[in-house]
């Protein structure tokens, strides 16, 4: 018993890495909770590709900030703002669908980031830091920034929760009711951008998408009730973070990527066992239907 307890506690108490792992855990918990709430809006509105573009396109901004020695968060925030505006403008052009516009802009911005970074002599190491984050490099300041921004995001969402919910499901009706739909959409994009930016140091540019989307998509498979999705999503995120951290500590695997793989595993399991739309339930329904059909056919023949 003591062995198991020791095994569980060792990552957080070890002399040389204890504080780093503790900070990593706190940061991941905060990101899981914020991601659970914000991600639910992303999944229900089908904004996954836009968020994907946003996360990729922030890359050049962070690189520029890195090169000129400016604040990392500031660079990310500015480029997020620019990309959000550019994508919404291009999407108005009817010839190119929003889907294609997003694809073009984000790969272009991403390549620009790599070109900028390649002005440094050996850029491989710092590139990885940008792309996948450095979960064990989280400082107490990072934790405070995440926590405070999290509170701001929650307060903002709480204040307009009804409007957001309505416009998520019925744009035409909310427009008819006089809601500022365009502004609400912009508000949501800004909240998403803030979440992405604050998660960057820990989980990096590419993987942050998973922290926002995967737990909420998993939670969606277990309930149809909007406000129930959020706590379940946060819970999925937290469990994945803890398991991912242990994997990182004991198996020496990449930290944040391990968390994402665990979360994706939960999503795949949920696809199979979901009570409403899981593979098992659907298989049973199909079998029951065909049995019923067989019985009715037999009766009809008699």
């Amino acid at each position: 018993m003591d062995d198991i307890l020791n095994w569980l506690l060792e990552p957080f108490n070890s002399a040389y890495a204890g504080e780093l792992v503790r900070n990593a855990l706190w940061e991941l918990l905060l990101i899981s909770i914020i991601g659970g709430v914000v991600g639910t809006y992303i999944v229900l509105r089908g904004l996954v590709f836009i968020v994907d573009a946003l996360t990729h396109a922030i890359f050049p901004g962070t690189v520029v900030a890195f090169l000129i020695g400016a604040d990392f968060l500031l660079g990310a925030a500015i480029s997020a703002l620019i990309v959000t505006i550019v994508i919404s403008q291009i999407a108005r052009n009817q010839r190119v669908s929003e889907d294609s516009a997003i694809g073009v802009i984000f790969t272009g911005a991403f390549a620009l980031g790599v070109v900028l970074l390649s002005t440094l002599k050996s850029y491989g190491r710092s590139l990885e830091g940008f792309l996948f984050g450095d979960i064990l490099g989280i400082t107490t300041t990072d934790l405070w920034v995440t926590a405070i921004l999290g509170v701001v995001i929650f307060t903002a969402i709480f204040l307009v929760r009804k409007e957001l919910l309505l416009s998520s499901f019925d744009t035409a009706m909310s427009r008819a009711m006089g809601l500022p739909v365009v502004w609400l959409e912009l508000f949501l994009y800004l909240v998403i951008a803030a979440t992405v930016v604050v998660s960057l140091p820990a989980v990096g540019n590419i993987l942050v998408l998973a922290f926002l989307v995967t737990p909420s998509a998993t939670a969606r498979l277990f309930t149809n009730r909007f406000y129930l999705i959020m706590p379940i999503a946060a819970f999925v995120g937290i469990i994945s973070s803890v398991v991912g951290l242990y994997l990182g500590y004991y198996a020496n695997l990449a930290g944040s990527a391990g968390v994402v793989v665990v979360a994706t595993g939960f999503f795949l399991i949920a696809l199979v066992i979901s009570p409403q739309s899981g593979l098992i339930v659907r298989f049973r329904q199909r079998r029951r239907l065909s049995r019923q059909l067989g019985r009715e056919l037999a009766e009809a023949q008699v």
């Binding site: 590709f49 272009g108 390549a111 070109v115 491989g124 989307v213 995967t214 979360a263």
Partner: protein, 290 residues
């Protein structure tokens, strides 16, 4: 000026990368046009990300990264088409979750490799355009011919299913199989470009040329030619620029490609506003008002 343009192509390694990009231009011009018409840019993006673990596994077991990427891509195509039927999670979300998960798996696998021997992660993600060999070029030539032949043989079916799925179904076309088959062609295209451009930047090459050409024309034939031209211009520009300035070559090509797109976008916006003003003026002219 001419010297500035021609000098790089005197080098043997630049000639090889130029030839490779020319082949990629021919394949990607056609494939990207169909990707834009079918509106599957997000799927193409997802597939390109998702072949990452396959590349790493192939690298670890010492096999060709082409086969590793191909197998991983095919697995993801099948899983995505299975998950797309779930009614609680939209296809958009499911695709996003799966590809980022597959990508993370690649990163985890990469972290098991001894770093000193593996070189940087950037060669997997962004390729080594100035390091392509004759084997890579031959591979692109063969795979490209296969992809183009398949598209040529199924061109009518592909076109019809791009625009009117219901009619295609009513005509008895196997719509689901055509969709699946097309995604397999996309995977083949991305995988054959891996050594030169890497899987992240291949996304740009299978989306941007078609999107650029779409801004300028509505006819598929013209679109394909413009898309191929776009890649050739951008590759030449990117290679020459990268040769002289010494920046990451694959990424330079993609930045050039995006610039061509932005120019085409500006052009199409100006053209549209000109025709709108012309129409308005015509409508407001005395003969029409009276």
């Amino acid at each position: 000026m001419l010297n500035f343009l021609l000098e790089p192509f005197g080098q043997a390694y630049i000639q090889k990368s130029g030839l490779e990009m020319l082949l990629i231009a021919l394949v990607c011009g056609v494939v990207s046009s169909y990707i834009i018409l079918r509106g599957v840019a997000f799927l193409a993006n997802a597939l390109s990300h998702a072949i990452f673990p396959g590349i790493i596994v192939a690298y670890v077991v010492g096999s060709n990264i082409f086969w590793g990427g191909l197998v991983a891509g095919l697995i993801v195509v099948v899983v995505i088409s299975l998950v797309g039927q779930n009614e609680q999670v939209s296809e958009n979300s499911a695709v996003g979750v799966l590809y980022i998960g597959a990508f993370a798996l690649g990163v985890v696998l990469l972290s098991t490799i001894k770093r000193s021997s593996a070189g940087g992660v950037e060669s997997f993600l962004f390729g080594q355009l100035f390091g392509v060999g004759w084997g890579d070029i031959l591979n692109t030539a063969i795979v490209g011919t296969a992809v183009l032949t398949a598209i040529f043989l199924a061109r009518k079916e592909l076109l019809l299913t791009s625009f009117d799925t219901q009619m295609a179904r009513a005509m008895g076309l196997p719509v689901n199989w055509l969709n699946l088959g097309f995604l397999v062609l996309v995977v083949l295209t991305v995988v054959t470009g891996l050594p030169a451009v890497g899987n992240i930047l291949m996304i740009a090459l299978v989306i941007t040329p078609g999107a650029t050409a779409r801004l300028l024309t509505e006819r598929l034939g013209t679109m394909i030619i413009l898309a191929i031209g776009t890649v050739i211009v951008a590759s030449t520009g990117g290679i020459v620029f990268s040769y002289h300035i010494g920046l990451a070559p694959g990424s330079c090509v993609v930045v050039a490609l995006t610039l061509v797109f932005l120019i085409a976008l500006t052009f199409s916006i100006i053209r549209k506003s000109l025709t709108t003003t012309a129409t308005l003026r015509l409508a407001a002219s005395p003969e029409n008002v009276g």
